[in-house]
Amino acid sequence: MTLASVLIVAAGLIGIGLYGALSQQSFVMLMMGLELIMNGALLAVLGFWSFALGGMPEGQLLAIVIMAVMAVEMAAGFALIVAVYRNRQADVTESLTTLKQ
């Protein structure tokens, strides 16, 4: 287990997350892709903190911030989905884009 190996796994998670975020038609599935990207970021931060920062507390703080961002993203995202669904019986990304008109 080295920093490089941890970062490669993180890169893998980010890659899969990117694939999901780009390919999924549904807004909810798109959020799953974003979460997976965050997961990779979390792992990368932990790797850096553990191997390269000598356990500086700021590294852990950054990890907490990532989790907070995930929570905020989820709460806001789902609230938006509910609001949109109430007006348009759909949750698909395409219908979100048509709403912009």
């Binding site: 509910v82 669904y85 109430r86 019986q89």
Partner: protein, 328 residues
């Protein structure tokens, strides 16, 4: 959690509920709420011939090896399975318990086929065109419909519940549309069946409510008191029930009847009656189906249990009677 002896699912009919409560106390038996947990299907009391299919469904849902026992009733025509238990409560319990161990399984009366045919036809094996079409695994998928309470149109689930739901009055069949756990609409298909005198004592009416409030042990105490002497004032027992805080557990204003009473006040009335050793006052439920619409499932069950079975029967004109009236 179930405790006791042989697990039986009691399919209760009419004029029998008090006797069933007596049978439930027998150490040789454990009544269970679902046929998945039962070894024996116990059919008791007067059965409507129209419930034959429902009974066959319950019978099929039992765990193998199935056994059917009829008690204080005749076999329904077209349901030629099982044996008759002796009349007396203790003999019947021993008989039923013995049936569970004999292992020549009964066959299912219904056809072994999915409710609708299903074949994978889409490119990914789906049942029909698109995501919602077809009948995957022999059953269509739920479709969206408007909602009573918060305006989010999500899927509605329509099903007939009963007549053998143990948490409902025996014989009650309702076609219910649910969204989530909230009843959107209910249509009463069959009214509950008339029951014996014992079932109308405040003890047993309270016991039914207490089971829904997750207090089975206290409910059992009430049943024992009723079987010992239903007309004796049980002040201590009423106080014990009150002390558990049941009245404050029930939301205020739930299930208003035509006289302005709610579930809480009707339960308080039962407790007074129990303490005074007299029957509880009758209530006038009004339109039961309309009352249940918009309620959460547990609340709806509490509303149903808060009326005596006679009250419910009076309020629900049976559809057959209504049809006759319409024809006239």
């Amino acid at each position: 959690m179930a405790v006791g002896g042989t697990p039986v699912f009691v399919a209760a009919g009419g004029g029998i509920l008090g006797a069933v409560e007596a049978l439930r106390l027998e150490p040789a038996l454990t009544p269970v709420a679902t046929p998945r947990a039962a070894q024996v299907l116990l059919v008791v009391g007067e059965q409507r011939p129209s419930d034959r299919i429902a009974l066959a469904r319950i019978h099929a849902q039992l765990v193998e090896p199935r056994a059917t026992v009829w008690w204080r009733t005749d076999r329904l025509s077209g349901f030629d399975l099982g044996t008759r238990a002796p009349e007396s409560v203790s003999d019947a319990a021993a008989f039923i318990s013995a049936q569970a161990t004999q292992s020549d399984a009964e066959a299912i009366l219904l056809d072994d086929a999915p409710p609708n045919p299903w074949e994978g036809i889409g490119p990914h094996g789906q049942g029909g065109k698109g995501m919602m079409g077809g009948t995957p695994y022999g059953r269509p998928m739920a479709m969206t419909s408007d909602d009573l309470r918060d305006g989010l149109s999500l899927d509605a689930y329509t099903a007939t519940f009963g007549p053998y739901l143990t948490q409902w009055p025996p014989g009650l069949i309702m076609e219910t549309t649910l969204q989530g756990d909230v009843i959107q609409s209910a249509r009463i298909v069959e009214a509950p069946l008339a029951q014996d005198v014992l079932a109308a004592t405040p003890h047993l009416e309270l016991a039914r409510l207490l089971r829904l409030l997750e207090l089975p042990a206290l409910a059992e105490r009430l049943v024992r008191a009723a079987l010992a002497n239903p007309s004796r004032a049980a002040t201590g027992l009423a106080r014990a029930v009150r002390w558990t805080g049941v009245l404050s557990a029930i939301p205020a204003g739930l299930g208003r009847d035509e006289r302005g009473g709610d579930v809480r006040s009707r339960m308080a009335g039962r407790l007074h009656a129990l303490a005074a050793g007299r029957p509880a006052e009758p209530a006038a439920p009004g339109d039961v189906a309309a009352m249940l619409a918009g309620l959460e499932w547990h609340e709806a069950a509490l509303v149903l249990a808060s009326f005596s079975i006679d009250d419910l029967r009076r309020a629900i004109v049976s559809p057959a009677v209504r049809m006759a009236k319409d024809a006239a």
